[in-house]
């Protein structure tokens, strides 16, 4: 690449955190350890120890017409094996969760290959071949992308990102997939991401400290760092907004076009 990507504008810590998320060279701090098997059971796509189901034979065994693009692009491991496409979906609380849907979309696009991601107001889904999904999930769950209290792993019934937290600081979950243990101060998942009960609970660690979350969050909030405090970010957003509005309506273009038709352009 001949240029250095800037990722996102802004001069506050929020903007810096966003850039850190998006920069594939930036190593996110690992703060917890979760077994591979536990991640597989929370995802709920296959049983731990079960082999991957495939939707087509391995690419090497398949016959293709000659296509230059296939030589240029290296397939990801899951695609080589012909694995299924599966998903992981997160809901992020508005109360200073480390990531948020748009940040996740940009991060996934710049950090991982071969992903399809969908952004909604309260949740963010990532779809990729199952083999690669588990590696990505491990990275997303073990690093500072994830907070057990303010981030939820939710496949269905995601409602809760904009609600008040409960007395222990946990985000609302109608299906109560995760529970807080007041004695050990630990959060553990008792259901998989769609709400099917797990045989053994999966511990995902302690909720992060509220003050620490204020430092690592990517959400502008008036009680932490408001967006209006970030001059550079506001300037960039306004520039894009104006350009889109003018360009979208075609104000200047239309005026000149009309003048030309009226013979008034000389």
């Amino acid at each position: 690449m001949s240029y250095k990507p800037q990722y996102t504008p802004g001069e506050t810590k929020i903007a810096q955190n966003r850039r850190n998320h998006m920069d594939p060279d930036f190593e996110m701090k690992k703060i917890r350890n979760i077994n591979d098997e536990d991640i597989v059971s929370v995802l709920g796509h296959r049983n731990p120890g079960e082999s991957y189901k495939s939707v087509h034979p391995p690419l090497e065994e398949m016959d293709f017409e000659e296509d230059m693009m296939k030589d240029l692009v290296e397939p990801i491991p899951g695609a080589k094996e012909g694995g299924r496409t599966r998903y992981i979906q997160f809901a992020d609380s508005m109360y200073n969760a480390p990531a948020h849907p748009y940040d996740r979309a940009r991060t996934y696009m710049s950090r991982f290959r071969g992903v399809d991601t969908g952004t909604l107001s309260g949740r963010q889904v990532i779809e990729i071949r199952e083999l690669d999904l588990e590696k990505i999930s491990k990275e997303l769950l073990e690093t500072e992308f994830f907070d057990p209290a303010k981030t939820g792993l939710r496949g269905a019934t995601v409602h809760g990102h904009s609600l008040r937290l409960d007395e222990n600081g946990l985000m609302f979950d109608a299906l109560q997939r995760y529970v807080y243990n007041e004695e050990t101060n630990m959060v553990s998942y008792v259901k998989d991401q769609v709400g099917r009960p797990l045989d053994t609970p999966v511990e995902v660690g302690e909720p992060l400290d509220e003050e620490h979350l204020k430092e690592i969050t990517t959400i502008y909030r008036s009680d932490n760092v408001g967006m209006r405090e970030d001059k550079e970010a506001i300037e960039a957003v306004l520039t894009i907004h104006e350009a889109r509005t003018d360009g979208g309506f075609g104000l200047e273009v239309f005026k000149n076009d009309l003048k030309a038709k009226l013979g008034d352009d000389k």
Binding site: A156, T157, F172, A174
Partner: protein
């Protein structure tokens, strides 16, 4: 029926309340003078999973519990977000003052107490239809504003005390 002067007080804690805390607050508020009725509001909690691959399995939400208010058992159907108390107008000032003290002692986070009208005051078409079609017999005018138009009073209203 003789009309009385009543007003609502809305208690809005900055966190959603656990069943234990709700029970404690409701019991203490019931001891205050002039209390007519309570409306416990919040995000509803399903009994079984409604959709998705886990459809039909029971949820067992720890917030959907049976609490005891003045000796009567009440099932919480919601994760408690706010409590609206209708009180007699003459007890208003004293009630608000005492409520604030109770909340300060019980909660370790912020709350708002607002005075105003937070429930419906007139019977609606749905209310009248409930009586006209025999969906509910002896519809009590005291319950106007407490019951959701689609819900039955028997299922969502609990009578405590006299």
């Amino acid at each position: 029926m003789e009309p009385i002067k009543a007003i609502d007080v809305r208690i809005f804690p900055h966190r959603r309340l656990k069943p234990g805390t709700t029970e404690k607050i409701l019991n203490e508020l019931l001891d205050l003078e002039g209390v007519l009725r309570f409306l416990v509001n919040g995000e509803s909690l399903p009994k079984v999973v409604g959709y998705g691959p886990a459809r039909g399995t029971s949820v067992n939400h720890p917030d959907r519990k049976i609490i005891t208010v003045k000796g009567k058992e009440v099932e919480l159907l919601v994760s408690v977000g706010d409590i609206v108390v209708t009180i007699r107008h003459e007890n208003l000032e004293e009630f608000v003052e005492k409520t604030k003290t109770i909340l300060e002692e019980t909660l370790n986070f912020g709350f708002d107490v607002r005075v105003g009208i937070f429930t419906r005051t007139k019977t609606t078409v749905s209310d009248n239809l409930k009586v006209a079609y025999g969906i509910e017999e002896d519809f009590d005018p005291n319950m106007v504003g407490l019951v959701d138009p689609k819900a039955k009073s028997k299922e969502t209203v609990k009578l405590i005390g006299d």
